[in-house]
């Protein structure tokens, strides 16, 4: 790629004003809140901050959040790779239906997503009686939280991989097959290494969302302290109890996660310039139509 082509034309005072406007907008809506989070968290001193985040209930929330992410991210990773592989490399009926389904969690409000699980697995839900008879708790328990998180973070990995895989076409895979590779060998040695940066990027975004998800989890969690409270829910409870400093202390951990994610994302983009392209643009470069002569 030619660097000169990528850079916007320079010169003109218009550029300066545009840049200033964008920066002040970002400052107002992103930087200022971030500063507020950390200053409020530390408003009662470092001792109070440490006490807030080492409180057993806070620690339980951290543990639960980590557990939820540890289960939902790998599952969505496997699903995302499988879906992207199928969509990018094969032609089949119902392909556009699958694409729409993958986008569904983006379109549906997380609260509705949570409610759906209550209607399915709650005591009065479709499977409620069956679950009660077998003494399985999903709603207002950890499994429900994990299910809701998986649903909400469903599209991240797949959406990131599809354009990358489509842009790369099928030639590499077909070459591997012609050299005698099996399907698995082709996947592990050719396809996966080719998309590794895109995959990491998707996992990162998926993880950030899994840890930060509030709406859907709030509906299915039941807010049982020490048991079904994730970090975002814990922040809300503390805040509602006017324990502002503690609320911001826990919130600062989430903010820190966001900053780390952004840093890692920038690093990946620097490593792999292809990711910088918007997905739609990459898709139009992709050879979705068969090129034949």
């Amino acid at each position: 790629m030619n660097a000169a082509l990528r850079e916007p034309p320079r010169g003109g005072t218009g550029n300066i004003w545009l840049t200033l406007a964008a920066l002040s907008f970002l400052g107002l809506f992103l930087a200022v809140p971030l500063i507020v989070v950390f200053s409020e968290a530390l408003s009662k001193g470092a001792g109070a901050y440490l006490a807030a985040i080492t409180n057993p209930l806070a620690l339980a929330a951290v543990r639960l959040t980590l557990l939820v992410a540890a289960v939902s991210v790998p599952l969505n990773c496997i699903f995302g790779i499988a879906a992207a592989w199928a969509i990018a490399k094969f032609e089949f009926r119902g392909k556009s239906a699958l694409l729409t389904l993958i986008d569904l969690p983006f379109a549906v409000s997380p609260v509705i997503a949570g409610l759906v699980f209550i209607l399915l697995f709650g005591n009065n839900g479709w499977f409620g009686g069956f679950l009660m008879r077998h003494d399985v708790r999903i709603v207002f328990a950890v499994p429900g939280i994990i299910l809701a998180t998986i649903f909400v973070t469903f599209p991240f990995v797949a959406r990131e991989l599809i354009p990358v895989m489509q842009a790369q076409g099928k030639d590499d895979e077909e070459t591997a097959l012609s050299l005698g590779a099996t399907g698995w060998q082709t996947f592990w040695r050719v396809t996966l290494p080719n998309v590794r940066w895109g995959l990491l990027y998707g996992v990162l975004l998926c993880n950030a969302r899994a840890m930060g998800e509030f709406g859907a989890v709030s509906v299915v969690s039941g807010h049982i302290r020490g048991l079904t409270n994730t970090m975002p829910l814990h922040v809300e409870i503390l805040y509602n109890e006017y324990n502002i400093a503690a609320a911001f202390a826990v919130a600062s951990l989430l903010a820190l996660l966001a900053l780390l994610t952004l840093a890692a994302k920038s690093y990946l983009e620097w490593r792999q310039p292809e990711l910088r392209r918007a997905p739609t643009q990459a898709r139009s470069h992709g050879r979705t139509l068969r090129e034949r002569s």
Binding site: D171, D172, T175, L179, G180, T182, R189, N194, R292, S293
Partner: protein, 354 residues
């Protein structure tokens, strides 16, 4: 490996990419699939490789029906137009790929792999680049890595999709001659796809001209060039002048030349007809006999001199392009504006395709 196609057809949606193709490729041949874009040549190559399966017809490899065989079983080496090198592997690892993925009992030892890859890189003159990544290579080098990688698994059939398409003219010319020499050394049956007639004539010993998914003509390059089976092939293999055949009193004429007999040999009858003449078949002189013409322009660059001519005809003069060697041009002492006479040494008549 010999290849036979029997009534092979392939459709993509509404588009018939390949229709009823019958083809026999003898073992050890170097064959070119030649045609304009969209003629089905790449599809045909993929059908032979097993990358696509035909809707109808059979693919026979060494006489065995291989239509349902997966690509791995066909022992083909396939080189893609854009090489499809594995970008996360070095040149060495790219070439070694086909050996490393073999099942344990068939896999050569690590030392044997190193030796074989080394020999292949030497064959393609890339020993010095073994540790580089594909992104650090030039187009011609990538092409040769792709070829070495395909050869590593000892294919009995080598398939190349537009092998020189993405290279600049200079490299392309060198690589063509190199590929020809390589084939003479290895004798692996090879088929390559091209839209460049010059390339097909220079490299291949058999040419298959395709048009709209059907075989138009098969033959040695010289035969196809000298005796084209249709006006399409005639036009596709080199430059042509097209002249409408005129008729007077029940006879057919090409300029002043009576060609009625040739017309009836071609059994064109009284339908509209055209004659195709290659530029180097037009002889320019000052004799009394022949087709009167005027020299419009002269382009004398390199060993070949090209002339634009206006040959007398009604209602309007016919524009012709002629070629001659620089020596002949100097001997004839031609200048723009000269009145000359033309002799047409070779021509072919066809029913007017329009």
């Amino acid at each position: 490996m010999s290849i036979s196609l029997r009534g092979v057809s392939k459709q993509f949606g509404e588009f018939a990419a390949v229709t009823d193709v019958d083809l026999d490729v003898p073992s050890g041949a170097l064959l070119a699939l030649l045609g304009p874009s969209g003629c089905g040549k790449t599809t045909l190559l993929r059908l032979i490789a097993g990358l696509d399966s035909p809707d109808r017809g059979q693919v026979l490899l060494d006489g065995h029906d291989a239509t349902a065989w997966p690509i791995a079983k066909r022992k083909v080496g396939f080189v893609f137009q854009h090489y499809a090198l594995f970008r996360h592997m070095t040149v060495f690892e790219n070439v070694a790929f086909g050996l490393r993925i073999k099942a344990r009992r068939e896999r050569p030892s690590s030392a044997a792999i190193t030796q074989k890859v080394g020999a292949l890189l030497e064959l393609v003159q890339l020993s010095a680049t073994a540790d580089r990544f594909p992104s650090q290579l030039s187009g011609g080098q990538r092409q040769r890595v792709a070829l070495a990688r395909a050869l590593a698994v000892d294919p009995e059939l080598l398939l190349l999709d537009e092998p020189f398409g993405a290279l600049d003219a200079q490299v392309r010319h060198e690589l063509r001659r190199w590929l020809r020499r390589l084939h003479d050394e290895l004798h692996v049956t090879s088929i390559f796809v091209t839209h460049d007639q010059q390339e097909a004539i220079e490299v291949a010993d058999h040419i298959v001209v395709l048009r709209g998914g059907r075989v138009e003509q098969v033959g040695a390059p010289g035969d196809v060039y000298d005796a084209p089976a249709s006006d399409f092939v005639h036009r596709f293999l080199g430059q042509v002048n097209e002249v409408a055949v005129t008729r007077r009193d029940g006879r057919a004429y090409l300029g002043p030349m009576d060609i009625t007999e040739a017309m009836s040999r071609r059994s064109i009858g009284s339908a509209a007809a055209i004659a195709l003449i290659r530029p180097h078949e037009i002889e320019i002189g000052h004799s009394q006999e022949g087709w009167p013409a005027t020299v419009l322009a002269v382009r004398a660059i390199g060993p070949i001199v090209r002339l634009d001519l206006a040959a007398e005809a009604r209602p309007a003069p016919v524009l012709l392009e002629a070629e001659m060697s620089r020596e002949r041009f100097a001997a004839a002492a031609l200048q723009v504006g000269d009145s000359v006479t033309l002799q047409i040494r070779q021509w072919q008549v066809y029913a007017d395709p329009t």
